[in-house]
């Protein structure tokens, strides 16, 4: 053993904040009023952004970090942690969010990427990052860069859970596979995954990611949230699903309940009653490759 065996991952206090959010719902909000509705409904955290993913998809144009004024208003309004998104590779947006005292930065494929080759060096910041992933290799690359939390990418703004399911299953089956490999197979596996060898060894030994594993991208109903929890998510992000539905406060409360009681079908049936209309969904298999958000980043 030598000091080279040390694996560098995010600080314990940052992974710790992600631990505190477990079993909770993180809700996308675009105004202070929405943030208040989310907090009153039992959100564990809110994500401040300029437009929800469904609108970004519809309106097009460049999607950037939320305005400073808006983030400050939301911070003033709620006592729960406030997250905000920065564009992939846009470390200056991240520096601004850090200066604002945002509690968690989402380096997000939902915004227009600022760098086609490099993600942000997350170790350079005093606040934690969450990053999206479609499979185990991508999750471990982000953890290797310092992410304190991983979430599935899913297909944001689609209201369709199929991509989040695909990504969560890819991550959990990738983890299971690693635990069955012999030590001499791990270097080749690291090469195939495109993931840091030390993190591959760590996951093979422990059978789990070294940071919390949440789900995002397409959750629109209490059943969707419970599905992701039963598939192994430790908490969920809901983007367009709440404020693009007909009764946001009620749906938000129902999704909070469904996330806590994800294995209790009686509770799920009860909270799913009379929720009004869910957001309109998109058949993601009909989306052109260029319209997919999940292929941003690597």
């Amino acid at each position: 053993m030598s000091e080279l065996d040390e694996i560098r991952i995010a600080d314990r206090k940052h992974i710790g904040l992600a631990e505190m959010l477990k079993g909770g719902v993180i809700m996308d909000v675009t105004t202070a009023e929405q943030a208040k509705i989310a907090e009153d409904a039992g959100a564990a955290s809110v994500m401040a952004l300029e437009r929800v993913p469904a609108d970004i998809r519809k309106d097009g144009g460049v999607a950037r970090m939320a305005s400073v004024t808006k983030i400050k208003e939301i911070q003033k309004t709620v006592s729960i942690p406030v997250m905000a998104k920065a564009r992939i590779g846009h470390f200056v947006e991240a520096q601004i969010l850090e200066a604002l005292g945002v509690d968690f930065i989402d380096e997000s494929e939902v915004l227009t990427p600022a760098d086609e080759h490099f993600h942000i060096d997350k170790f350079a910041f005093r606040i934690p990052f969450v990053c999206g992933a479609r499979d185990l290799g991508e999750a471990l690359r982000r953890i290797g860069e310092g992410a304190a939390m991983i979430r599935t990418k899913g297909e944001a703004g689609s209201g369709n859970i199929v991509e989040a399911v695909r990504h969560m299953r890819a991550i959990t089956s990738g983890i299971r596979r690693l635990t069955t490999l012999s030590p001499e197979e791990l270097m080749t596996e690291a090469k195939n995954l495109g993931a840091p060898y030390e993190l591959v060894r760590c996951v093979a030994r422990t059978g789990k990611l070294p940071v919390p594993n949440f789900s995002a991208g397409g959750i629109a109903t209490p059943a969707d949230a419970a599905l992701m929890m039963q598939l192994g998510a430790e908490a969920v992000f809901v983007g367009s699903g709440i404020f693009k539905s007909s009764d946001p406060a009620r749906r938000a409360r129902a999704i909070v309940q469904a996330t806590t009681h994800s294995k209790d079908a009686d509770v799920l049936a009860r909270v799913s009653e009379e929720l009004g209309e869910a957001m309109v969904g998109i058949e993601t298999s009909k989306l052109a490759e260029k319209d997919l958000l999940q292929t941003r980043g690597w």
Partner: protein, 211 residues
């Protein structure tokens, strides 16, 4: 013995793991003193009736507003008051402390009032102000080193007359006990050190012996 961990939202799984670690003997790295294995089983509690099967309860870290919302929905408040009235020990960390305190500030919110302290939420600031410190706790008359991880932590602004301060950081109480109620502003469950959880197991064991 069985100890419940309120599993509505927060780091309840880490508390269950910490209790599982208490099941094996440990040796203090500095004093070399051995702690014997504790016969404890963690039970995740999501419904009030599940409290009947446990001798103690841990309310974990998480978001106190979310916890209160979910507790309300399931009428946990009367159930926990009854649990406390029966002399069964309760341990709250961070959000768990906020839920158990007599008074809560910034903002003011409902709390169970089972320990006579006033707490201020997020009193060190936001996540960039979260920190780790090595402190000392005084448990059963012994000084023991404890690694303290403070995450968007509350501060105890007033300690009531009947409350015993068990650990301090920067001259302020960060861990306290009043009878069967134990609270900490930091997160012992985030470290490998089981000192605080073993202390709570002992409270539960003694409460069960006298019940």
């Amino acid at each position: 013995m069985r100890i419940g961990v309120l599993a509505l939202q927060g780091d309840f799984a880490l508390h269950a793991k910490a209790l599982a670690r208490c099941r094996s003997a440990s040796r203090d790295r500095s004093t070399g003193e051995a702690s014997p294995p504790v016969d404890v089983e963690a039970v995740l509690v999501r419904k009030p009736e599940e409290l009947e099967a446990v001798g103690g309860l841990i309310i974990p870290g998480g978001e106190s507003t979310t916890l209160l919302k979910l507790m309300d929905e399931w009428e946990f408040v009367p159930a926990i008051e009854k649990f406390h009235a029966a002399g069964k020990p309760i341990f709250g960390t961070c959000a768990g402390l906020i839920v158990l305190a007599r008074d809560v500030e910034s903002p003011r919110q409902f709390s169970l009032g089972l320990i006579d302290v006033a707490v201020e939420r997020n009193a060190y600031g936001r996540q960039r102000d979260s920190f780790e410190a090595l402190g000392t706790a005084i448990l059963e008359g012994r000084r023991v080193p404890v690694t303290m991880v403070f995450i968007r932590a509350p501060r105890i602004r007033r300690v009531g007359a009947g409350v015993e301060s068990l650990a301090e950081h920067g001259g302020e109480t960060v861990m306290a006990r009043q009878g069967s109620v134990l609270v900490a502003t930091f997160h012992p469950e985030l470290t490998d050190d089981t000192t605080v959880h073993r202390y709570f197991c002992d409270l539960v064991r003694r409460a069960m012996a006298t019940a």
